[in-house]
């Protein structure tokens, strides 16, 4: 599995979506800003860690701007950002 080679993004700032920013880093660092942080902060972080692990990414700085995305949406957006971050130009 390839590690990230460049910055990437996925998603939107629309309600019920999430905007994911990803960049290569030495380890996993996750920053979450969410309208449902009080209710789902931990769940969101666990989901992000799970997707990164499944994708074999061991180093990434992740920034989430969450507008209340369902878990399936969050998984899809993070996975897409990872794939984009791996592509060579």
């Amino acid at each position: 599995m390839h590690q990230l080679v460049r910055k990437s993004t996925a998603g939107t700032m629309e309600s019920s979506d999430v905007f994911v920013e990803l960049e290569p880093a030495g380890q996993i660092e996750i920053e979450i800003e969410s309208v449902v942080y009080a209710q789902f902060g931990d769940a969101i972080e666990n989901t992000v860690r799970d997707v990164l692990q499944k994708q074999g990414v061991t180093g990434a700085r992740v920034r989430l701007h969450d507008r209340g995305a369902l878990e399936c949406v969050l998984r899809a957006r993070v996975e897409t950002a990872v794939r984009r971050g791996r592509e060579e130009r």
Binding site: S16, V36, A38, Q39, F40, G68, L70, E71
Partner: protein, 469 residues
């Protein structure tokens, strides 16, 4: 001839009104987010060194954010209202005001004013047109807002009444709403409000497919309820899905040639269309939401202005809500006992209020909540609502895009809906379905300082809203 009602400006009016420390000053909200009058009056009061005022406004909007400065400076120390929009609500929720806000309903407010439980010292009544003696109306003028329904209780019962207008016409104004017998002073100002914020150009029907499914189901529920027949009466909100439901309902009424009796409420252009196409004999209008409604109330004698007492007061000998068949209402949350929250969001922040929610729910034969299963990952159905705005025993049915939950008290209604092939299920099933998609939200932590007290329409205590952390 009695003269001298006409004053030259707001500052002079505040002085003439006798406004002093500790008094209660009132405003109506027909100019909505375009209102200038509340800010002008409080600014003048502040400049004259008046302190410790209670502001009683039928609703407050984000255009009234200067209130926060007056609270900080001690000019305003109390707020009583029926509704408060989000930006102001967020500050109040963090504890900006020491004394808890008093929330009433649109029916409870005039009830308490009339019976003296909520006395008003000075009412400042924004009037889009007035003559020099204070005969005034909202139907005409550059800042026309249509109905002045929420201002009547203030005009009739405040100790001193000041009409503030930007369109002074020669005596006598012919088509008045509030007459001169109640008015102490009249003030002419350049502008009472920003027309763009007073009424929407057009209120739009939703195009969101989830909203349309809910609206279609809502119309079918009404059709199956047994109430949709000759003489039918109806109120709906201005929200996208509620309007869409009204449109589907109109299709059914026209197709089946059902002639209703009256449409009630905050009136939009869609209700005007229903009047003009023969769905209703009359519109009873406590507040206009858009330009088409304003034009209609001005020109069509079958479109009548009503006072807030006539609309919804539980103390009136009777009010229109008591004759209402069906009302469609929204919710930020609804719980397993059908209690509804429209005061706060799911974080516990104030972002609304009853308006006529609990009044129409209590009066209508069928009180329907229409809401999606979840919004931004938060299920609509909760174990307990963050704030009880409308008691569950007055709510009959919840319509979502995935199913219809009927209050267990309404067994006959549930059977009628099942017979009509509607997807009836338990409210707990809707909660479970939402949580299967969203996950179970962690309960939010709240402070222990009351920031608002919610009164039911009869004046009894309904709930307390605590500060956000």
């Amino acid at each position: 001839m009695k003269n001298g009602k006409l004053l030259s400006g707001i500052a002079e009016a505040v002085r003439a009104s006798g406004l002093r420390d500790g008094m209660t000053v009132s405003f109506h909200h027909h100019l909505r987010n375009g209102d200038y009058v509340l800010n002008m009056v409080l600014e003048a009061a502040a400049q004259q060194g008046i302190r410790d005022l209670t502001v009683n406004a039928s609703s407050l909007f984000d255009t009234h954010l200067p209130l926060l400065g007056h609270i900080e400076n001690g000019v305003v120390t109390g707020i009583e209202t029926d509704y408060m929009s989000g930006a102001l609500g967020a500050h109040i929720s963090r504890g900006a005001l020491k004394k808890p806000v008093v929330f009433r309903s649109h029916g409870g407010r005039p009830h308490d004013i009339v019976r003296g439980a909520s006395p008003i010292d000075v009412a400042f009544i924004a009037a889009p047109t007035s003559d020099p003696m204070g005969n005034c109306t909202g139907k005409t003028g550059p800042s026309a807002c249509g109905s002045l329904g929420y201002a009547f209780a203030d005009a009739l019962h405040a100790k001193t009444v000041v009409v503030v207008t930007d369109n002074l016409v020669p005596y006598p104004l012919q088509d008045w709403s509030i007459d001169e017998t109640h008015v102490d002073y009249v003030v002419k100002v350049d502008q009472i409000g920003d027309p763009a914020g007073i009424v929407s150009g057009t209120t739009k029907i939703t195009r969101d497919p989830v909203g349309l499914v809910m609206a279609d189901t809502a119309a079918r529920v009404i059709a199956a309820s047994g109430l949709l027949k000759e003489g039918f009466s109806f109120q709906t909100g201005a929200g996208g899905a509620s309007l869409a439901a009204a449109r589907y309902l109109k299709d059914i009424m026209l197709r089946e040639k059902i002639r209703g009796s009256f449409g009630l409420g905050g009136i939009t252009g869609y209700m005007v269309d229903m009047l003009n196409e023969g769905c209703f004999e009359t519109l009873l209008d406590v507040q206009c939401f858009d330009l088409k409604a304003v034009q209609s109330i001005r020109e069509n004698p079958r479109h009548r202005e009503i006072s807030a007492m006539h609309y919804a007061s539980p103390g009136a000998r009777s009010a229109v809500v008591d004759s209402l068949d069906v009302v469609i209402l929204g919710a930020t949350e609804i719980d397993l006992d059908f209690n509804v929250n429209v005061h706060t969001d799911s974080q516990g922040r104030i972002m609304g209020g009853s308006g006529g929610h609990s009044d129409t729910a209590a009066g209508a034969k069928l009180a329907m909540i229409i809401a999606p299963l979840s919004r931004a990952r938060l299920p609509i159905v909760t174990e307990h609502v963050t704030c009880v705005s409308t008691p569950g025993e007055t709510i009959d049915v919840l319509v979502t895009q995935k199913g219809v939950a009927v209050n267990p008290r309404q067994k006959e209604l549930a059977q009628r809906l099942r017979d009509a092939g509607l997807p009836v299920c338990g409210i707990d099933e809707l909660k479970a379905r939402a949580e299967a998609m969203t996950g179970v939200p962690r309960p939010i932590a709240r402070g222990d300082r009351p920031v608002a007290e919610v009164l039911y329409r009869d004046g009894s205590h309904l709930d307390t809203i605590y500060n956000t952390l």
